[in-house]
């Protein structure tokens, strides 16, 4: 038996197919994964993401601490509730995790890290906290529900306390607002508008039921994966891990090189890699044939070299297979993927594939 979120019994009662995900028993789908995907693109869906770990970091020097720990720079965050996406790196430049950090106030930042990396993240955070007198507090008392889709915010807002709902509806992208132990942020992992809502774990089943009654459809991790891949978002463990740098993972945009004297962990290794030339890059692939890209399939770039599919799926919006692949940097617009013993041609594109319900690549 794996770890369970506060919504485990709710999922089972709803007929969800439960699978192991990073040590957690999670719903992969409640019926048709493709229908769940479309409901998020067209209307409103919700995901139990309580397996992800909320960590509160507090202390007088917490800003300085995070400027050392993260490849992106929390000094960019000047308004309360503003969020930043960043990688946390080892000294050699490998990615420990990708995460979102919220600036709450000068002595308090809130981080959301992946479920499968939680323990090593906490260990890393604590190892470095001592020198900065920062407290690291994982919030196991909180659940998290992501409501995503064009109608998601308006439906969910009807269930919040009216004053809080008004504030939440005014949030710009990548901003969050707190109300007692609740926290609503205009963030997500689907390429659609929506909120990620943190709330006390003992209120999760009640809130989930109210969302469902308000027309927000339960969606599983299967749809979450096809949605994030269409949106061109990386999945930790598939598309990057400790053996690759953000520069080889399509995440160069998340590295804050300026100011040049900010000595974040991994900076030296990234600078050296950049100076020598980054050997590989992460690209999007679209398959023309009726087959499906899957992680670890071999990619062949004629006259250039080889690479590997890191994530692949069938895209319900494009109605063909898409994926992410790590390939030699010289790769241009074509490659071949070995699928079930055959080399099939694929177009190399720049993600996202889909944004706000619309196809964002040339087919």
């Amino acid at each position: 038996m794996g770890l369970r979120t506060p919504l485990f019994d709710t999922h089972v009662a709803a007929g969800a197919r439960m699978v192991d995900f990073g040590g957690w028993d999670m719903p992969v789908n409640y019926g048709s994964q493709i229908e769940e995907h479309h409901v998020v693109r067209r209307d409103a869906g919700m995901f139990d993401v309580s397996h992800m770990c909320v960590v509160d970091l507090r202390g007088a020097r917490v800003r300085e601490y995070l400027r050392r720990l993260l490849a992106n720079d929390v000094a960019k965050l000047t308004q309360s509730g503003k969020a930043l996406y960043s990688c946390m790196l080892r000294e050699h430049g490998g990615v420990i995790d990708d995460l979102i950090v919220y600036y709450m106030d000068d002595q308090w930042y809130r981080m959301v890290v992946n479920a499968g990396t939680r323990d090593k993240d906490l260990e890393w955070l604590r190892t470095h906290a001592g020198g900065y007198e920062v407290s690291v507090e994982p919030r196991f008392d909180l659940a998290m529900i992501a409501v995503q889709g064009p109608s998601a915010r308006s439906r969910a807002a009807t269930l919040l306390e009216p004053g809080f709902a008004a504030r939440a509806l005014e949030l710009d992208n990548f901003f969050g607002a707190a109300n007692d132990h609740w926290f609503v942020a205009r963030t997500g992992y689907t390429g659609e508008d929506g909120w990620e809502i943190m709330l006390p774990a003992d209120q999760a089943t009640d809130f989930w039921a109210k969302l469902r009654d308000a027309g927000v459809h339960p969606c599983g991790l299967g749809a979450r994966d096809t949605l994030r891949l269409e949106a061109g978002m990386n999945l930790y463990g598939n598309d990057m891990d400790e053996t690759v740098s953000p520069l080889e993972s399509g995440l160069g945009w998340t590295i804050a090189w300026d100011p040049q004297d900010r000595d974040f962990i991994g900076r030296g290794a990234l600078a050296a890699q950049k100076a020598h030339g980054v050997p590989r890059k992460l690209v999007g692939l679209i398959l023309a044939d009726r087959a499906v890209l899957r992680s670890h399939q071999k990619v062949v770039v004629p006259a250039v070299g080889e690479g590997e599919v890191t994530s692949g799926t069938f895209s319900p919006t494009l109605e063909r297979s898409i994926g992410l692949a790590r390939v030699p940097s010289q790769t241009t617009d074509r490659c071949e993927v070995e699928i079930r013993g055959r080399l099939l041609p694929a177009a190399v594109v720049r993600p996202p594939f889909v944004r706000h319900g619309k196809i964002a690549v040339a087919l």
């Binding site: 197919r17 789908n29 048709s32 299967g222 009726r290 087959a291 499906v292 069938f314 079930r340």
Partner: protein, 131 residues
């Protein structure tokens, strides 16, 4: 729980087979198999006229989760592949024992059909797999 019709025969690899009045054998994948695979997105059914051997991989079903071979329960000649699955692979999810059939085979030896698992034996195999 998955549906296991009493009048069909099965393979441990989750194919079902039905002996038709004209002596051909219709083949598909079981309700358990379609549930485990999730939404089907592509199906490669064999073409009429192809010779297949019992146990030979002769069709491919690909879902959001995985690609799976479909094995022929009997040796014989393919009489038809289900052309509807080309545009509507979801028929397998919606009606695995009906509109979601994959191929029809004229068996060389009907005794091969009789030797397949009956519903009870298949249910026992499913129970053993999940426990």
């Amino acid at each position: 729980m998955s549906n296991v019709p009493a009048d069909l025969r099965f393979l441990k690899s989750h194919e079902w087979a039905r002996l038709e009045a004209d002596g051909t054998v219709t083949v598909g994948i079981s309700d358990h198999a379609q549930q485990a695979l999730g939404d089907l997105v592509f199906v490669e059914a064999p073409e009429a006229g192809r010779r297949v051997a019992a146990g030979e991989a002769c069709a491919v079903v690909e879902s959001v989760k995985a690609a799976s071979d479909v094995y022929s329960p009997v040796s014989g000649e393919v009489v038809a592949g289900n052309a509807d699955l080309g545009g509507q692979p979801e028929l397998i999810n919606q009606d695995p024992y009906g509109a979601g059939w994959i191929m029809r085979i004229r068996p060389d030896d009907k005794a091969q059909f009789a030797a397949l698992l009956d519903a009870k034996a298949y249910e026992a195999a499913l129970a053993a797999e999940t426990h």
